[in-house]
């Protein structure tokens, strides 16, 4: 048997055969590692969790024609949209606007991809239904109040198409939309209906995008669009992105602070437990010194036990921590968290380091044991 295998046998036997004693220390490490792992998972998942939460407040990124351009060509809009990572897209709704008349009163009609608009603006409150068939529209509450229309009513819209010719078409009100904003003064219809009435233009007035990404990433996307598609001007909806950034920063700071406190408490707990372990094993330490163990060996053995505990506690922490993070995700954010595989080694290393640090003082005191005193006959 080599010295190394004897060393591992000694520390493993100490942990295995003194289960009840070491369980307390393991529990302290595992609880700390669990909370650490859980909170760090949440820390990294908060942007995703909160990002999705913020997406319910509507578009955070819009594409408008660059200065000097009258409209966004479909080709340019598609080129710009292709620069947005598809896995971060919640909804992308292109809009065309034209002034129309209903009962000789002017209103603004908006043609869009209704399904995308619904995804990009989940905060719209619709009385009735979203349009599902041709000739169905959503009208804003302000429009509904002005011309006294309810879901299910029909009305005639008149106006001038792209060729300057008059049109008159009948539409059915599918639903009335309330947003508390300017959208209540619009009539929303599918792009197909809009093109059928107003004619094909091959361009959009604006493209509203809802993207699940932090402000910094949106700024990067904007820079990329500006560089590669010069006739498109990307804009961040700052009221959304800035408040999102502020809330995220504060939440992450809070989680960071709690994590730091938990780590400190874990260290104190492990240090206290190891102190008790050292006190309880003073005779054993004295005996080892009497057998000729130098202080270095005593330190290596206790540190080995501590680090093994840290490692075991870390493994438990990774497993239980994900459960803990899941619990927070489901109960606080109403969404499940993703397992962050890259955080597992971080938790393990942190757990081992914290345990190692916590063991330093108790282990140091172990070397002060005087074998002549602790082995004295009774």
């Amino acid at each position: 048997m080599t010295k190394r295998s004897m060393y591992f046998k000694m520390i493993a036997s100490s942990l295995i055969r003194r289960r009840s004693r070491m369980f307390v220390a393991l529990l302290a490490v595992a609880v700390g590692a669990t909370i650490l792992s859980g909170l760090v998972t949440i820390y990294y998942d908060i942007p995703r969790q909160m990002g999705q939460e913020f997406r319910s407040y509507g578009a955070n990124f819009i594409l408008v024609p660059a200065s000097g351009e009258e409209a966004l060509s479909e080709t340019s809009a598609e080129a710009a949209v292709s620069l947005i990572p598809s896995d971060e897209v919640v909804g992308i709704a292109p809009y065309r606007y034209e002034t129309v008349k209903i009962n000789e009163q002017p209103f603004m009609a908006a043609g869009t991809e209704l399904e995308e608009a619904r995804k990009a603006s989940p905060y719209w409150f619709v009385s009735g239904d979203w349009p599902e068939t041709d000739g169905s529209v959503l009208i804003g509450q302000e429009v509904a109040d002005t011309i006294r229309l309810l879901p299910g009513n029909t009305f005639t819209m008149t106006g001038t198409d792209g060729n300057g010719e008059s049109f008159s078409r009948e539409f059915r009100v599918s639903g009335v939309v309330q947003t508390g904003g300017t959208e209540e003064a619009f009539i929303f219809m599918s792009m197909a209906d809009f093109v059928a009435a107003m004619g094909e233009s091959g361009a959009y007035d604006v493209v509203e995008c809802s993207i699940s990404a932090p402000q910094t990433e949106l700024e990067d996307i904007a820079a990329s669009v500006t560089e590669r598609v010069p006739d498109v001007a990307p804009r961040l909806v700052t009221r959304v992105t800035r408040s999102e950034g502020t809330v995220l920063t504060k939440l992450q700071a809070l989680v960071f602070l709690v994590t730091a406190v938990v780590l400190l408490l874990t260290m104190i707990c492990v240090a206290t437990t190891m102190m008790a372990v050292v006190a309880e094993r003073r005779k054993e330490i004295g005996l080892k010194k009497a057998l000729g163990a130098p202080n270095r060996n005593i330190i290596l053995e206790f540190m080995g036990e501590g680090l093994l505990l840290g490692c075991l506690g870390g493994v438990l922490g990774v497993i239980l921590g994900f459960g803990f993070a899941q619990l927070i995700g489901v109960n606080v954010f109403s969404r499940s968290v993703h397992f962050q595989a890259a955080l597992a080694p971080v938790t393990l290393i942190a757990s081992v380091l914290i345990t190692g640090l916590a063991c330093m003082i108790p282990v140091r005191s172990a070397t002060d044991v005087d074998p002549a005193i602790v082995l004295r006959g009774e």
């Binding site: 048997m1 080599t2 010295k3 004897m6 060393y7 046998k9 000694m10 036997s13 100490s14 295995i16 055969r17 003194r18 005779k283 054993e284 004295g286 005996l287 080892k288 010194k289 009497a290 057998l291 000729g292 163990a293 130098p294 060996n297 005087d370 074998p371 002549a372 082995l375 004295r376 006959g377 009774e378």
Partner: protein, 228 residues
């Protein structure tokens, strides 16, 4: 040259003189007993001989090395290489088996050797109990493991503190029988004891009183005596 030569050592703890101007020698292969009432300085003397303490005055030469002036680190090294310790309370590591307890001494000394450790246990009649934990062994068996551990590194001097103090008569006889065999093999033994019957087994008995050597008795029935 004597294996152990103690010249005028005193040990003072605060106002207490545990040892006063003690002179003593132990020859190579000798079996010496140290007796005396509680507080007579037996434990202090054992600690000094065992390199676990240093005298306040005087010199102690162990195998020619003055252990009264060595650093703590060197004393640990000397203890590891030259002394085998046997305790009244056995002091086995409770989470290691009998075999592992013996191998611990090898581990600190040089290299653990399971075969040699098993031979040491066989020498004290415990081969069959090698894989047992101390809690699964009787007091006598634990003391025999302690002896095997003390002998595993071939020490120059075996230092035993009340080795039969916690044993019944049958186990005391087993342990003494092992000591007799060790003595026959030429191992130097110093036994600190309260028990006159144990002391009688030695060649000489040093009797301490109030930190001084009151007298030295040459035991005619001592096993070493038989050889002279």
């Amino acid at each position: 040259m004597s294996l152990l030569e103690i010249r005028g050592i005193s040990k003072i703890y605060g106002n207490v003189n545990a040892l006063r101007n003690v002179d003593m020698t132990v020859e190579q292969g000798e079996w010496l007993a140290v007796m005396g009432p509680s507080g007579s300085g037996k434990t202090t003397m054992m600690n000094i001989i065992g390199c676990m303490d240093k005298p306040s005055e005087g010199t102690v030469l162990l195998d020619g090395i003055d252990i009264s002036t060595e650093s703590a680190r060197n004393l640990t090294s000397i203890r590891r290489d030259k002394i085998g310790l046997i305790f009244q309370q056995f002091h086995l590591i409770n989470y290691l088996t009998a075999l592992e307890n013996v191998m611990v001494a090898q581990y600190y000394h040089s290299m653990p050797d399971e075969k040699e450790a098993l031979q040491a246990l066989d020498r004290v009649g415990l081969l069959a109990r090698a894989k047992h934990l101390p809690s699964q062994l009787s007091g006598g068996e634990q003391q025999r493991v302690c002896i095997a551990r003390a002998l595993i590194n071939y020490p120059m001097l075996v230092l035993a503190d009340e080795p039969t103090g916690n044993l019944d008569e049958a186990n005391e006889e087993i342990v003494l029988d092992i000591f007799r065999k060790l003595h026959e093999e030429g191992i130097t033994i110093v036994v600190v004891t309260h028990d006159p019957e144990v002391a009688q087994e030695a060649q000489r008995t040093v009797i301490l009183e109030h930190g001084r050597i009151a007298r030295i008795v040459v035991n005619e029935s001592g096993k070493g005596q038989e050889g002279e």
